[in-house]
């Protein structure tokens, strides 16, 4: 199988490992330079996910947890569609790739054993969702807008409302975990995690924009968030490492 190398990653655009304003990075950031791998490598391939492994409610966070627990009641919170396309840096769609999301409920509370925030759980909201991108790289989730929440970083530090995204692409080296913020949220500018990147355009690219054209009248608003994965360069390799 021919697998071109990926275009080199722009490490000035990506967040640096050590961003001291985000306290958790202090002890968890590697200090040595990354070792550059040239030539064919197994990370230029990656796992393939079949769309038949995805359940019909998996992308509906308003219903998926409630339904799994025998409830007919929807999750509480502002109903929103979050949608967009997964593309690569060459503006090519990335179809058939797994997109996973997780988020706090409308009150800013996660359903997690280590979570201690005083906002209540919503018995009808779990907070996970997933889908496989379509032929044009498109994905779509139905969910409730998550609330902001405090986190133990400084004396009074809050995360802006956000949805965590995990995306695979077609190569293990394209693997990406990120967060989508919401247009107009004044907490974005105050958040050390959101501001881990130095280029303001990098942060701007993480902000989902209100998309009235995708909203549903008398039902829900919509936010659009496109995700760009690393693109393939022009050097083909004969990759004998994986058979799939």
């Amino acid at each position: 199988m021919n697998r071109n190398a990926l275009s080199p990653r722009d490490y000035d655009w990506q967040p640096k490992p050590l961003t001291p304003d985000y306290r958790s990075s202090i002890l968890r950031s590697p200090q040595q330079a990354l070792l550059r791998i040239e030539g064919p490598s197994p990370e230029l391939d990656g796992p393939v996910f079949e769309s038949d492994t995805i359940g019909p409610l998996d992308s509906d966070l308003i219903r998926n947890y409630a339904a799994a627990n025998g409830s007919d009641t929807d999750a509480i919170g502002p109903r929103i569609i979050v949608h967009g396309r997964v593309l690569d840096e060459n503006n090519r769609p990335v179809p058939n790739t797994l997109v996973e999301v997780w988020q706090a409920n409308a009150g800013g509370r996660y359903r997690h054993v280590n979570e201690g925030y005083l906002a209540p759980l919503d018995p009808n909201f779990g907070g996970c969702g997933r889908c496989i991108t379509g032929d044009s790289g498109e994905y779509r989730f139905l969910t409730v807008q998550p609330g902001a929440y405090p986190f133990p970083n400084g004396p009074n530090t809050w995360r802006p409302a956000h949805i965590h995204f995990s995306v695979f692409g077609q190569a293990f080296a394209q693997r990406l975990i990120t967060q989508m913020y919401f247009e107009g949220d004044p907490l974005i500018a105050r958040c050390s995690i959101a501001n881990a990147m130095t280029d303001p355009a990098a942060l701007a690219s993480l902000v989902g924009v209100l998309d009235m054209s995708a909203s549903v009248p008398m039902d829900c608003l919509a936010y659009r968030f496109d995700i760009i994965l690393r693109g393939r360069g022009s050097t083909p390799f004969e990759n004998r490492l994986e058979g799939n």
């Binding site: 080199p8 490490y11 655009w13 990506q14 967040p15 490992p17 961003t19 985000y22 002890l27 968890r28 950031s29 590697p30 200090q31 040595q32 990354l34 070792l35 550059r36 791998i37 197994p42 990370e43 230029l44 990656g46 796992p47 996910f49 492994t53 359940g55 998996d58 947890y65 799994a68 840096e89 797994l98 996973e100 997780w102 988020q103 996660y110 997690h112 280590n114 779990g126 907070g127 996970c128 969702g129 997933r130 965590h164 995990s166 293990f172 080296a173 693997r175 990406l176 975990i177 995690i193 881990a196 990147m197 355009a201 990098a202 942060l203 690219s205 004998r240 994986e242 058979g243 799939n244």
Partner: protein, 183 residues
């Protein structure tokens, strides 16, 4: 050219999205993706386990680690995903020994967690293989040992589990910081 979407930390609750079944969100998905290999995956059964240590030598108990490797005959890729244990920090992959490629066999690993702004790629080699000529290990120079698993309790493991257990600890900082890769 478009710019790659910037990475953000997976945060402490990555389990909700990536390993929901083992994090108490049962019923939404039938199983966690990448929880186990298929029963017919060809190759010798092995276990890979270890901890991920921060700069204060404390194990990360909220990390997610993914594995990518060929099966024992290079027929297909194997992808697995585990969270580190919420109490002990141990991660554990039950897999097969990967087929050798042009050089010695290895598995690819990817780590995310709270405090890690950009996911970390590394590789794990096996202590019982001819690793000498491998170009990456050569390139790693004096840090090559951070990429090679150990078998501290080889005899005990075989007796207790019936298959080899490879220990691979990952260090994010310090004198023995693991070699991380730019691919």
């Amino acid at each position: 050219m478009l710019k790659e979407t910037p990475s953000q930390t997976a945060g402490p609750y990555v389990h909700i999205g990536c390993t929901p079944c083992s994090a108490g969100l049962t019923g939404v998905y039938p199983a966690d993706p990448g929880a186990s290999i298929t029963a017919d995956a060809p190759g010798v059964r092995i276990r890979i386990e270890g901890k991920i240590f921060d700069g204060a030598n404390a194990p990360l108990r909220d990390a997610l680690i993914e594995l990518w490797q060929p099966d024992g005959q290079s027929n297909a890729g194997i992808w697995l995903r585990k969270s580190t244990d919420l109490k002990t920090g141990v991660y554990q992959f039950d897999t097969v020994k990967p087929a050798a490629r042009s050089g010695p066999p290895y598995v690819c690993l990817w780590i995310v967690a709270r405090g890690i702004n950009l996911g970390l790629h590394t590789r794990m080699y096996f202590p019982d293989e001819e690793n000498g000529p491998d170009p990456l290990l050569k390139q790693a120079g004096p840090r090559r040992d951070t990429l090679i698993a150990t078998r501290p309790d080889a005899e005990e493991d075989e007796r207790d589990t019936g298959f080899p257990v490879y220990r691979f600890d990952i260090r994010l900082q310090g004198e023995r910081e693991t070699v991380f890769l730019d691919i």
